[in-house]
């Protein structure tokens, strides 16, 4: 029963809250600029990439490249954070797990919570601070963004659970995840559009596009890009694939965690 993990999360909700707040505090403390530093990183990336690729991407019908970029980069960095930091969640919590009674699910989920808050803040800050200068238009379609965010958190949680558990049994996965997530960054249409504007040439070969469609992260990115960049409601297939993938990973992660619940403590 995957519900047992939800029940555990509810039981330990105070601890989850404290752990999330703890991570956020550590992240944003230490400097007067605090939070600013954490959006400086995406801003710098976006500025650099825009400078280099704006002209090229214009040929493929991308007219406001900075907006186009951040719609993809922010969700993706949340996902890769969930896999990479989430993967370490159980190993790093050995002190807790061996000395107090606590459900393991608490640790990967607190990491996703921290990343989620950071995602929201960065998204809001970028839209407010940078948006006006790069021609961001508010649209009705943006009201689906909270739902897109839910799907993002669902996928992040599922992947964090799976990664955390798998890393306990195969320690070298830590390095494999890093390589895979970097490769996926380029395989996912974040820096480039998968489809051209009508009547224009595409960047990706027509017969290759189907492979990109198989990537759930593409559909996830579109849940943000279509409302923010195109000002349109996301197409149904993006919802189906992203939501389906999220549910699948969460259920799989919960079931596996429950299956290994007595054994995992000996693998720390």
């Amino acid at each position: 029963m995957p519900f047992s993990q939800f029940r555990a999360l509810y039981t330990y909700r105070q601890l989850v809250r404290n752990l999330v707040v703890q991570r956020l505090k550590i992240r944003y403390r230490h400097s007067a600029l605090g939070f600013l530093w954490s959006i400086l990183n995406p801003i710098l990336m976006i500025a650099t990439l825009s400078f280099i690729f704006s002209h090229l991407m214009g040929r493929y019908g991308v007219h406001s490249y900075p907006i186009f970029l951040f719609c993809g980069m922010l969700p993706y960095s949340m996902i890769s954070g969930s896999v990479l930091q989430g993967g370490q969640a159980l190993i790093r919590s050995e002190g807790f797990l061996k000395n107090v009674r606590v459900a393991p699910v608490v640790f990967p989920i607190s990491i996703v919570g921290d990343l989620g808050v950071n995602f929201l803040l960065s998204m809001a800050a970028l839209m407010a601070a940078v948006g006006p200068f790069v021609g961001l238009q508010p649209s009705v379609a943006m009201c689906v963004l909270p739902v897109s965010m839910l799907v993002l958190v669902l996928i992040g949680s599922g992947l964090a659970l799976l990664a955390a558990l798998a890393t306990l049994y195969f320690r070298d996965l830590e390095h494999i995840f890093e390589v895979v997530m970097r490769a996926m960054y380029f395989f996912t249409p974040i820096l480039y559009p998968l489809y051209p504007q009508p009547g224009e040439h595409g960047l990706i070969r027509e017969d290759h596009r189907v492979y990109f469609e198989l990537n759930p992260f593409y559909h996830l990115v579109e849940l943000f890009r279509q409302p923010i960049y195109h000002g349109e409601f996301p197409e149904a297939r993006h919802w189906y694939v992203a939501l389906g993938f999220g549910l699948f990973t969460v259920v799989a992660g919960s079931v596996l965690l429950r299956w290994r619940r007595n054994d995992l403590i000996f693998r720390l």
């Binding site: 330990y12 105070q14 601890l15 809250r17 404290n18 752990l19 703890q22 505090k25 550590i26 403390r29 002190g95 807790f96 797990l97 061996k98 000395n99 107090v100 009674r101 606590v102 049994y169 195969f170 320690r171 070298d172 996965l173 494999i176 619940r261 007595n262 054994d263 403590i265 000996f266 693998r267």
Partner: protein, 255 residues
């Protein structure tokens, strides 16, 4: 129902992975070469443990290093699930195994107390109400909002000890550290510990230090190679245990 703990025929065998953690690379190579996967070695830490602890009992667990004392304490506390037999617990159980579990050096004393408090089962509101008292007792009021990485070791231990002894449990399971070892037992600290023990219905304490366990406990078990070899009044068990130790290593080791 009354507060009690009951272990029936409990055994625990765990995989030995401390020096040989699994790797995907190795598994994949073995599979590709059709080699047999490395067989997992196991260690039996506990076997055939039958133990019933009733309300009012203060149980001490003694035994040599590696006898399974800490493992048994973790089974009672519900941290380890036994591979054989059953554990039945009624009542709220709190383990105190390590001083400062989950303390994060980057966070302030106050923030750490909040996390530690939620681990002990308090709500955030409850622990906020208790925090001033904790800092007063630990004499750290001026340092409450300083990251604990700037604390001296003594200050950190004082804060962790004071927070942990705030616990409100029916059943308390204590390992080594809380028996004394690491803590410089000042008079006030002993009193606080005694208060905690007095309001707790069942206490299980693990220690090398037979003197200390003897003071607190009214029942004692002696564990050897994962089995209970003796269960009875503290004086008798300690005597037998000491005699056995003397036989094994010679009398000078006891001094």
């Amino acid at each position: 129902m009354s507060i009690h703990v009951k272990l029936s025929n409990v055994g625990l065998t765990f995989p030995r992975q401390i020096w040989q953690t699994g790797s995907l690379k190795e598994s994949a190579i073995n599979w590709a070469l059709r080699r047999r996967q490395r067989k997992e070695t196991t260690v039996t830490a506990l076997r055939g443990i039958n133990l019933e602890i009733k309300e009012g009992e203060r149980l001490g667990i003694v035994g040599h290093n590696g006898a399974g004392k800490s493992t048994l304490a973790r089974v009672i506390a519900g941290i380890y699930t036994p591979t054989e037999g059953t554990v039945e617990v009624s009542g709220k159980i709190v383990p105190l195994f390590q001083i400062g579990v989950g303390f994060n050096p980057e966070l302030t004393g106050m923030e750490n107390v909040q996390v530690a408090g939620t681990i002990l089962g308090f709500t955030i509101a409850e622990i906020r109400a208790k925090a001033p008292g904790i800092f007063r007792f630990a004499e750290l009021e001026e340092f409450a909002h300083l990251p604990i990485k700037y604390y001296s070791r003594g200050m950190g231990v004082r804060l962790a000890f004071t927070t942990a002894t705030e616990a409100d449990a029916d059943i308390l399971v204590l390992d080594e550290v809380f028996g004394g070892g690491d803590i410089t037992f000042k008079h006030r600290a002993i009193e606080r510990m005694n208060n905690l023990l007095d309001r707790t219905k069942i206490v299980v304490q693990v220690s090398h230090d037979t003197e200390l366990v003897q003071k607190v406990c009214n029942r004692m078990i002696w564990l050897r190679k994962g089995e209970i070899v003796m269960d009875g009044a503290p004086e008798q068990v300690v005597q037998a245990y000491k005699q056995d130790a003397a036989k094994a290593v010679g009398p000078e080791a006891l001094a």
